[in-house]
């Protein structure tokens, strides 16, 4: 009788040497107490080792489903060729049925077989020579992990560790890039300082330097791909009259190396950003639609993993990233922050400051739903995210319109807009409303005096014109007195006219000014 025994390392076929002992099922275990005894009762006939983990995985999945794997079929065919008359003891009755159908090999499965299997399993190391136990254990572990992953439909492009790492790398790159660029500017600025002020964009600066190198080559080199025309002319002009020092060939080489690095890192950064966008779309499409790739990636990185993020309630998602402010506010019993990382989402950014809080809360609520859908849902389409975004956008529009339309009353009536009043935090007491009697302030400000003077000259001109008209009629002091009187009359008339206007601050000020002028006139004439 043959025995088919599957292990993690491969298929083993044993031949039973002493079939009589198999009859006593209960004492069969004695035969497997030691490796020597075990070797007397069964002998390893053939051991088919798995070549690699994929083969092992295929074999084990077939085994779980009770089917014949290709490998197994091959082995069994060999057996059929040699020992067709032998019975095959197998552990799984279903598999036995399949083997019988396909290969016409009679199989048995009975309590005796179970006992036999137990015995073989307990002495497996002794029976299968040439297979160290370490290797067996390693294969076992590897096979278990790959089988579990296969079962759980583990797909490598749904791993959110990539996102966490990518966003951290992006931040690191930005810091490094900034440092290098600063260094490059400073270093090259020693040789050609004016270039730093003319070319503001960092990458263009480095490309420029890379192309030209020493300041002398500026006039000869062509910078049309790097710089626009006017700037190129400016640069060339500045190069002629630059006050930087000369530098040697070696120094320039080093600077050029640095520029190379900067350009390379910039390129890599753009590449990494594209990669991040792709991964975000693959892993969490709904979240990406709601808040954008960068904010989504930061949220995932902050929480640690997409599943962790999904466990947070919407209120936490709203203030994720503002923990310092949150706990400080909680401790000192002040107002808690209204937004954390979600502040940088486009929907929050495009609203007015007073609506940001409301939008951040609405967005966080819908975003939490999309996160859970992405983390725990089965399919990966972005429809749900798009719907939710639409809802938030509609609400945003309603919020903006609410200030224009009245809630109660007819729908067509528009609320009156408040008159513009500069609201500074320092509230100053406005004494103008205290009494309606004209107040004459004693101190005057410089601007008022100037204004008065200009007004006075204007007035003076007007009065002179009038006086000329009347000069024909009267002469001397009488004329002057009349002028005074007339001025006074005019003033009084104007004042009266002004007083009739609705009292606004400006009007009040102008009356005040008139009063002041009156006083000046009085003083002048005295």
């Amino acid at each position: 009788m043959l025995v088919l025994f599957e292990t993690a390392a491969g298929y083993a076929v044993f031949k039973v040497l002493d079939e009589k002992k198999l009859q006593e099922v209960d004492s069969l275990w004695r035969e497997f107490e030691t490796p020597e005894k075990a070797n007397k009762i069964v002998k390893l006939k053939h051991f088919e080792k798995f070549q690699d983990t994929t083969e092992a995985l295929a074999a084990s999945t077939a085994l779980v489903e009770g089917k014949l794997s290709k490998n197994l079929k091959k082995i069994l065919k060999k057996i059929v060729a040699k020992d067709a008359h032998e019975q095959l003891a197998i552990a799984d009755a279903k598999l036995g049925g399949v083997i019988k159908d396909k290969l016409n090999l009679s199989c048995i499965h009975s309590p005796m077989v179970t006992e036999l299997m137990r015995g073989i399993r307990s002495q497996i190391e002794g029976l299968i020579t040439g297979l160290p136990s370490r290797e067996m254990a390693a294969m076992c572990l590897g096979l278990a992990h790959s089988l579990s992953r296969y079962k759980l439909k583990f797909s490598p492009d749904k791993v959110d560790t990539m996102i966490v790492q990518a966003i951290s790398l992006l931040d690191d790159l930005d810091k490094e890039l900034n440092n290098y660029i600063m260094r490059c500017r400073e270093w090259y600025g020693w040789h050609f300082p004016e270039l730093g002020k003319i070319v503001t964009d960092n990458l263009t600066y480095c490309k420029c330097v890379r192309k030209v190198g020493d300041r002398r080559n500026f006039s000869t080199s062509d910078l049309s791909e790097v710089l626009p025309e006017e700037i190129e002319d400016d640069v060339k002009a500045a190069a002629e009259i630059s006050m930087g020092t000369e530098v040697s060939e070696e120094d320039i080489n080093n600077i050029l190396h640095l520029c190379d690095q900067v350009i390379e890192i910039s390129q890599y950064r753009t590449q990494l950003y594209d990669y991040l966008k792709n991964r975000m779309m693959a892993i969490a499409p709904n979240l990406t639609v709601m808040v954008g790739e960068l904010v989504g990636a930061r949220l995932i990185a902050h929480a640690g993993s997409l599943l962790n993020l999904a466990k947070h309630p919407a209120s936490t998602v709203q203030i994720l990233g503002a923990e310092k402010a949150l706990f400080r506010a909680l401790k000192t019993k002040r107002d808690t922050p209204k937004f954390g990382l979600i502040y940088h989402a486009s929907l929050v950014g495009q609203t007015a400051a007073k609506n940001k809080g409301k939008i951040s809360r609405m967005l966080a609520a819908k975003t939490a739903l999309t996160i859970r859908y992405d983390a725990l849902g089965e399919d990966s389409s972005a429809e749900m995210g798009a719907e939710n975004r639409l809802k938030v956008e509609t609400r945003l529009r309603h919020l903006e319109e609410k200030g224009i339309r009245r809630i109660s009353g007819t729908g067509k009536a528009l609320a009156r807009a408040d008159k513009y009043q500069h609201r500074s935090e320092v509230k100053v007491y406005d004494p103008s409303g205290d009494s309606t009697l004209p107040a004459v302030p004693k101190k005057r400000k410089i601007e008022e005096v100037e204004e008065e003077e200009t007004q006075v000259t204007v007035k003076a001109k007007k009065i002179k014109v009038e006086i000329k008209e009347e000069a024909d009629v009267e002469e001397g002091e009488l004329v002057k007195k009349k002028k005074k009187k007339k001025e006074k009359k005019q003033r009084a008339e104007e004042e009266a006219a002004l007083a009739e206007e609705p009292s606004t601050s400006t009007a009040v000020e102008s009356t005040e000014k008139k009063k002041k002028k009156k006083k000046i006139k009085v003083e002048q004439e005295d």
Partner: protein
């Protein structure tokens, strides 16, 4: 990885301080005291990492990871760890005692439990606290079970592994010489189990139904102990099938029985008795039975031997 979102008493923010690592340095053991309760501020918080006032530069034992507030322990207090009667299990003595196991992967916390670092001369040894309210095995040990049979170097078949919380402690006990075959059918828990198994090489995850041991016969060798926490009405049959396939002669089994799960109408004692009877019919000899009060209600743990060697008649 960022830990769960809960405030740390007395500290300004979430900076990665001191030995801050993936391990979550635990909240307060006894629960969260509401803010503003005690002396106007968060200073008087028990177990809040022992950080009296802010700005104190690295006070008391910050270096050793995970010494922040554990169940009544204030951070930085001296504790002693002594071995338990069971091999591989330890007791941590301080103001309050705790059951701990030696961490196989120092610096990592599996499910947010507190870690305790102890200096043993030159060596730094890390222990993980074992919560008896979450783990039936810990509850049994604290209840005073005679033998758990899970010892360093043992091979354990763990049925009903769930997310791997107790499995990690079993893995700590058996050490690198032993093996733990963790069987769990649920996919969600299976994912967490696989993550635990990635860090600990002596755990072999099997995402299969324990009712059909022949399906995972390729992965498992003979084991010394079967621990079953499946909470199924036919769990005796499940354990028996697995024992027939994988448990060595003279091997032991530890089964946790939930009376509600087997039969919610019968009295718990009756349920336990019927389960014991079913085991005896399958050549599994029960040796002791223990209820898990005060940690669980209507739960019992049965320890027994499978195919005991025949008594030598002298």
């Amino acid at each position: 990885m960022r830990p769960g979102f809960s405030p740390r008493g007395g500290r300004g923010g979430f900076g990665d301080r001191g030995g801050g690592r993936g391990g979550f340095r635990g909240g307060r053991g006894g629960g969260f005291k509401s803010p503003g309760g005690s002396d106007g501020g968060f200073r008087g918080r028990g177990g809040g990492g022992g950080f009296r006032g802010r700005g104190g530069p690295g006070r008391g034992g910050r270096g050793g990871g995970g010494r922040g507030g554990r169940g009544g322990f204030k951070g930085g207090k001296k504790v002693t760890v002594e071995p338990h009667r069971h091999e591989g299990v330890f007791i941590c003595r301080g103001k309050e005692d705790a059951l701990v196991t030696k961490n196989l992967v120092p610096g990592e916390s599996v499910y947010g439990e507190k870690r305790i670092s102890v200096e043993d001369g030159e060596l730094k040894v890390e222990y993980r606290a074992w919560n008896p309210f979450r783990s039936k095995l810990a509850a049994a040990i604290l209840g005073g079970i005679d033998q758990i049979h899970i010892k360093p170097g043992a091979k354990v078949l763990y049925l009903g592994a769930a997310s791997g919380t107790t499995v990690s402690h079993v893995s700590d006990i058996v050490g690198l010489d032993g093996l733990v075959y963790a069987v769990e059918f649920s996919h969600r828990s299976g994912r967490d189990l696989i993550n635990v198994a990635k860090k600990r090489t002596n755990i072999i995850p099997v995402i299969e139904d324990a009712r059909h041991p022949h399906k995972y016969r390729m992965l498992i060798g003979m084991v010394d102990v079967i621990f079953a926490d499946v909470a199924q009405p036919d769990q005796s049959r499940i354990v028996a099938l697995n024992a027939h396939n994988f448990l060595k002669n003279g091997g032991h089994f530890v089964i946790s029985i939930k009376a509600n799960c087997i039969d919610s109408t019968a009295a718990p004692e009756a349920v336990f008795a019927s389960e014991v009877k079913k085991m005896q019919q399958e050549n599994m000899k029960p040796q002791e039975q223990l209820t898990l009060e005060p940690y669980e209600r209507d739960h019992a743990v049965v320890v027994g031997i499978y195919r005991p060697p025949p008594k030598q008649k002298k």
